[in-house]
Symmetry: C2
Subunit: 457 residues, 2 copies
Amino acid sequence: MPNQKQVDADVVIVGAGLSGMIAARAVLAAGLTPVVLEADERVGGRILTEEVMPGLPVELGAQWIGDTHERMFALADELGVETYPQFEDGETSYDLVGAGVLRENEFHARFGDELAELERVLRRLDEMATEVPVDAPWLAPRAAEWDSITAGAWYDAQGLSPVARTLVEICTVGILAVPTAEVSFLHLLFTIQTCGVTSELFAESEGGAQTTRFVGGTSEIPNRLAALIADHIVLRVPVQLIEHSPGGVSVHCRGGLVARGRRVIVAISPTLAGRIMYDPPLSGVRDQLTQRLPNGSAMKAFFVYDEPFWRTDGFNGQLISDVGPARMSNDTCIPGDDHGVILMFLEGEQARTFGRLPEEERRAALTAELVRHYGSKAAHPELYVDGEWSDRQWTRGCYNVNLGPHVWTAYGPALSAPIGVIHWASTDTATYWSAYMEGAVDAGERAAAEVIAALAG
Amino acid sequence: MPNQKQVDADVVIVGAGLSGMIAARAVLAAGLTPVVLEADERVGGRILTEEVMPGLPVELGAQWIGDTHERMFALADELGVETYPQFEDGETSYDLVGAGVLRENEFHARFGDELAELERVLRRLDEMATEVPVDAPWLAPRAAEWDSITAGAWYDAQGLSPVARTLVEICTVGILAVPTAEVSFLHLLFTIQTCGVTSELFAESEGGAQTTRFVGGTSEIPNRLAALIADHIVLRVPVQLIEHSPGGVSVHCRGGLVARGRRVIVAISPTLAGRIMYDPPLSGVRDQLTQRLPNGSAMKAFFVYDEPFWRTDGFNGQLISDVGPARMSNDTCIPGDDHGVILMFLEGEQARTFGRLPEEERRAALTAELVRHYGSKAAHPELYVDGEWSDRQWTRGCYNVNLGPHVWTAYGPALSAPIGVIHWASTDTATYWSAYMEGAVDAGERAAAEVIAALAG
């Protein structure tokens, strides 16, 4: 699209992440004209593949889909993006509560009772989660009670052994990317319910949210989607102001572009949506909600070796540890490429503290942890690359927003309810796999359906 | 100042609240030229006096100063604004934990042990608060521990009787304007320490933060201050973008005005400061901090009667109750005016719930509570007026920002540290009476001193 000062469309969409582009495609399919305004110089939002060596893409952002992510499987199929299964063969390596490095079979043998105890707590979470309506968590029969405590406080009250408490913290922070002491227990239950059951979320092996990857990298999805609607996307136009009335919207961008339309879909993280100026201003309830939706802190660090030597030793590349900066890792080798690639996750507190160190210090600490688990071969990677999301101006944190105590019950209805001609997308507003790519598609489709129905009416 | 497209100054100041104007005055006194950019059509920010009848001003915003607010006393003196003491004669009326309406002497007789117990807890808070450095709460010896729990959880753990627990919640919410379950215990201790002791904060009678009022209304302070620097204030110019480099700043406003200067002081609530676009973008740490500083919810409701009939019955106009929408009230009559004026406070949960009701319903519920305490004369006010702050576009909540668990320890240093040529003011960044007018002056003076020193260097 040429660099023009005004553009007219039926539907203006803020953000060319997955959610916004899915909405644009649906709008287009309904015979309406969308225009997608993207602040960044690229599409994809929280999806970001970087080719660190020829033929070796690593995922600095969203990476996997799971077996129940039917929208994403359909989308990949439609876009011609092939998938392959996450490598899972071998044992996980543990080092928790001072027990030292233990292979999976040793760990299970030593902590069998504690793991059974944790399993009972997870089943209890699953049962409680079924009482939370995903489209209105504040209507759960025990919403007031569950929203008045943190997930951490609930875990603390279960009388778990140290290893079980540590393990459930690591698994939960692996999803929320903030310590459980910062998140409402109701929000944890909501998150579980949007995904099905805890085993989907926390699964280390079969099933779960991380079973499948995309050939060529996850960015193939947004890139191919963007190619289909290329005439309707404008890059490098940060939105500053949305003027809205029943008659339509004028969306003003830095640089002077004004996009006019009949409706607008704001398809960015709600905390960023709260930074846009609205005229007339939005209600205090909506505004105070967006003051209470902080993004998590997540950092992915990749070590590339000449071969996946840990496989030879019977390891699957996953570690679970409370020692080093990373609490978890994954084997992220690429089929057809000989390199060994280990991804280490820094989430929540670890991303905050180690993410602020000089890269060399962070890398050294992570390397030491890999050496402890996988031996001296881990000491000499060919390449190291990491990336933190809060520094990225148009994202400002990952994986998603987290609601603290009282936010769902006091402000929840304002999260996705349209305000006049303004609609809200982004995975943070999804009711199915919220925070995941599947949720981005869910929310984009829902917002588009709202707009299409309104404009047809 | 004429409506122009560009203005040049030494120091650009964002926000004509008390903090920004104090900074502007200090900058001017140092021989430098300030320009203050105010989004609203008035100065004063969270100070807002409204004359509801001729000669009868009510304070929809900041109202009182306390005996230790030396900067505010000096400022009032300098500006020629007279002060008068808050009316305190008579008894407070209580209705807590189902005890029914009790006069102060009855309440103290019945709950003497519980009040002594509460007193012990407050003394303990005072002791702990002394360990919190007000300019670096994260350096408190027990910062990690205190920042990992909420103020509410700490109160819950003290084994308080129901009446003591209820009373301390009401007093604390009266300051924080959010439930204690949402606020870090470290933040509560910081707040206490910036004010001295809990008796300063919570005092119902002598001393404390609410001893003194301003003749003509609190707005006399910002209005007279604005008159002194009128040539340097531009109204109705919401700031959208701050371009900054070591060489200076260009501050871009909605409507097209660009203010250029050598330094900028952002003198608005940190959550609103986070909504401005910065180029180059600020660090992830600063950004994630501003995602975690929600404003409280506060609403003041005024009932104006033909006379202060409660005084005749020996009441001081203060009620403390867990029954009606308001947890507390005050006699806010004006000397020289015959009307009786009662102010009822809705804070935190009460502001959220009742603030969203139609005014008639809220007024009816508040009236019923006044009648229970002060009899049938309370049923027929001449006038009722209320105001909630989250709906106000350029404030978005009161009285100030509150830090949840982990925010001080993970992000605290970013609250007021300058970033290049950008400096931060507003009472939320103060280290003395933060959240009060006194803190606004403290922060404005501190930011101005930073800038003056930098420009002299």
